[in-house]
């Protein structure tokens, strides 16, 4: 079983914390959950547990970024991007301060805690902020790369993580790049453009589709902003149909971003959007709520079949 993304993140931030002393880590009383505590235990003098003060935490990170630090700000994605949003807009976006917002428990991964704790609008909110890079981690390997990139690139970033484990979906020698997406499975009838844990779900869906004679390409669009418009257009032209798959509202997130690219390019292909259909979720086992709200492999495969049938 693959390691939980949050565990991977905790180990990664601790690892890079050793290499770069400018890294500071802030958390809002959930460091045991986000796993930022792994850094805190190792480097207590560079770890700030700000209490349940998300807005102040973001502002403090802004001041530290202004002073040359590389602040990683941690809490549940839903709280970070709502309570922290004014500081994100004013300091990360408007002022360009290179804060690294780490959205823990992305999507519905905090399943049992229910709708109040699900992050299903975070990507849409962060994507509207000028100058803020937005990425979604799909497996352990890319999580490491995202943390490394956040340290190296002196720009504001929102990185969405997950509470749960994700099957590896990239080859060991994969080369990731900010602003790019990656084809993780070739196919010719339809392209499933996914992010986060939905990438491995899309691969499962593609396998089921293959059995039905549909050849589905799968793209990990790990960078939502800036988005790889070239790859989207190429896939749309080559396969003639597109499905977007995300653990997020179909409004304003990956689906919205892909639709914007296709519309702008004048590349009208049948497009289906898998994601939360403009509603809120509920408590339950993760697998069950993903199924109920149409974000499992079955739903992705059905959307792909529909897109192909519309050609």
């Amino acid at each position: 079983m693959a390691k939980a993304i949050r565990e991977v993140y905790g180990e990664t931030i601790k690892k890079y914390g050793e290499l770069n002393k400018d890294i500071v880590v802030l958390d809002a009383d959930v460091s045991g959950s986000t796993k930022s505590a792994m850094f805190g235990k190792e480097y207590p003098d560079r770890f700030y547990n700000c209490g349940i003060c998300e807005y102040a935490m973001m502002g403090m990170a802004a001041g530290m970024a202004k002073s040359g630090k590389i602040p990683f700000v941690n809490t549940f994605a839903v709280f970070l991007t709502t309570l922290g949003s004014l500081a994100a807009r004013t300091f990360m976006s408007y002022s360009g301060l290179p804060i690294k917002m780490m959205g823990a428990y992305g999507g519905m991964s905090d399943a049992f805690d229910g709708a109040t704790h699900h992050a299903l609008e975070d990507i849409a909110m962060m994507r509207t902020l000028p100058g803020v890079n937005v990425m979604v981690a799909s497996d352990a390997q890319i999580t490491d790369w995202m943390v490394k990139t956040a340290i190296e690139v002196k720009e504001p970033m929102y990185i969405r993580l997950s509470r749960d484990a994700a099957p590896d979906c990239h080859p060991a020698d994969a080369k990731f790049e900010l602003g790019k997406g990656m084809v993780v499975r070739e196919g010719s009838d339809v392209t499933i453009i996914a992010c986060g844990l939905m990438v491995s779900t899309a691969i499962t869906a593609a396998e089921a589709l293959a059995a039905k004679g549909i050849s589905a390409r799968v793209v990990d669009m790990y960078c939502i902003k800036p988005i790889d418009a070239e790859l989207i257009e190429k896939c749309a032209k080559e396969t003639g149909a597109v499905v977007t798959a995300e653990e997020h509202s179909v409004i304003g997130g990956l689906g919205g971003a892909v639709a914007e690219v296709l519309a702008k390019a004048g590349c009208a292909v049948p497009t289906e959007m898998v994601g939360m259909q403009d509603r809120h979720g509920e408590s339950g086992p993760y697998k069950d709520i993903l199924h109920k709200y149409g974000m499992d492999a079955e739903a992705v495969a059905a959307a792909a079949e529909k897109a192909v049938s519309r050609k």
């Binding site: 700000c50 209490g51 807005y55 202004k66």
Partner: protein
């Protein structure tokens, strides 16, 4: 503070108030009330207590001044221009299209502006973050955060206060522009804060009350603040909104009202006549 220094700073304050009325009359936009009340607080910092200048602006070991109450931007710009951060003539571009002098301070555009402020409360945790970074790196510098008394309605101010206290931010010196008036009315009418000094004390602060229009008193308060170790300090500076212009004093309506021709004539007369 020597009498000479006090006279020098008082003269600057008078000059800056005249410039403020002139610019706000010319532009017919901008916030006079809070700019006038914060005049001595800013002038004492920029021209006396804080070690900050265009020459050392990129040096982390200098002091930092964060105007959390960003709507007092016109007075901040006047201070910065006279400090040499940009030409004084540029003040006439306040709020113009293509101007570097935005309605609220923009750290990316305007030389000398430490932080983009305006959303009330937001600047305060930023100031704390700067102070904590300096403290972590053993940099012997002070960060001054200037809050409005309406601004402290914001919850984030108290979130920050808890953190400043927890992290023993004694290099953060907060100054409250305690003018008793906010946009919609007096602070008593809009959001009575009760015993403000007691509130800050309860949050673990060393508190100092002083006359916020007396530069010598402000400077002495800063000295006292610096001498207290292990806890953050706040200077509760008693001020008058619209200070120096009789018909603006204590009036919430002058928070952001345009200065008309007759107001301009009267205000300039009160601020020393035609010069």
């Amino acid at each position: 503070m020597t009498n000479e220094k006090k006279q020098e700073l008082d003269a600057l304050c008078l000059k800056f108030r005249r410039t403020l009325i002139e610019i706000l009359h010319e532009k017919q936009t901008g916030h006079p009330g809070g700019s006038l009340s914060v005049c001595e607080i800013l002038t004492n910092l920029y021209f006396n207590d804080a070690n900050i200048s265009p020459e050392n602006i990129n040096d982390r070991s200098r002091d930092k001044i964060i105007l959390c109450k960003g709507h007092a931007a016109p007075m901040l710009y006047i201070e910065l221009a006279h400090k040499g951060f940009f030409p004084v003539e540029e003040l006439h571009t306040l709020r113009d299209i293509n101007s570097r002098l935005q309605g609220h301070p923009c750290s990316k555009e305007t030389p000398g502006v430490e932080a983009s402020t305006g959303p009330l409360g937001a600047g305060y945790p930023l100031a704390l973050g700067v102070a904590l970074a300096d403290m972590h790196d053993d940099i012997d510098a002070y960060t001054y955060a200037i809050l409005g008394d309406g601004e402290i309605n914001e919850g984030v101010v108290w979130e920050t206060a808890m953190n400043a206290s927890k992290f023993k931010a004694d290099k953060l010196i907060t100054i409250l522009d305690w003018n008793g008036v906010q946009l919609d009315g007096t602070t008593e009418q809009i959001m009575p804060m009760g015993d403000i000094e007691l509130k800050w004390k309860a949050f673990g602060y060393n508190t100092i009350v002083c006359d916020g229009h007396d530069v010598a008193a402000l400077s002495a308060a800063i000295e006292t603040a610096k001498s207290v170790k292990g806890v953050p300090s706040i200077i509760l500076a008693k001020t008058v909104k619209g200070k120096g212009v009789s018909f603006m004093e204590g009036k919430n309506t002058w928070h952001g009202a345009p200065v008309k021709d007759a107001d301009y004539e009267q205000a300039m007369k009160e601020l020393g006549g035609a010069q």
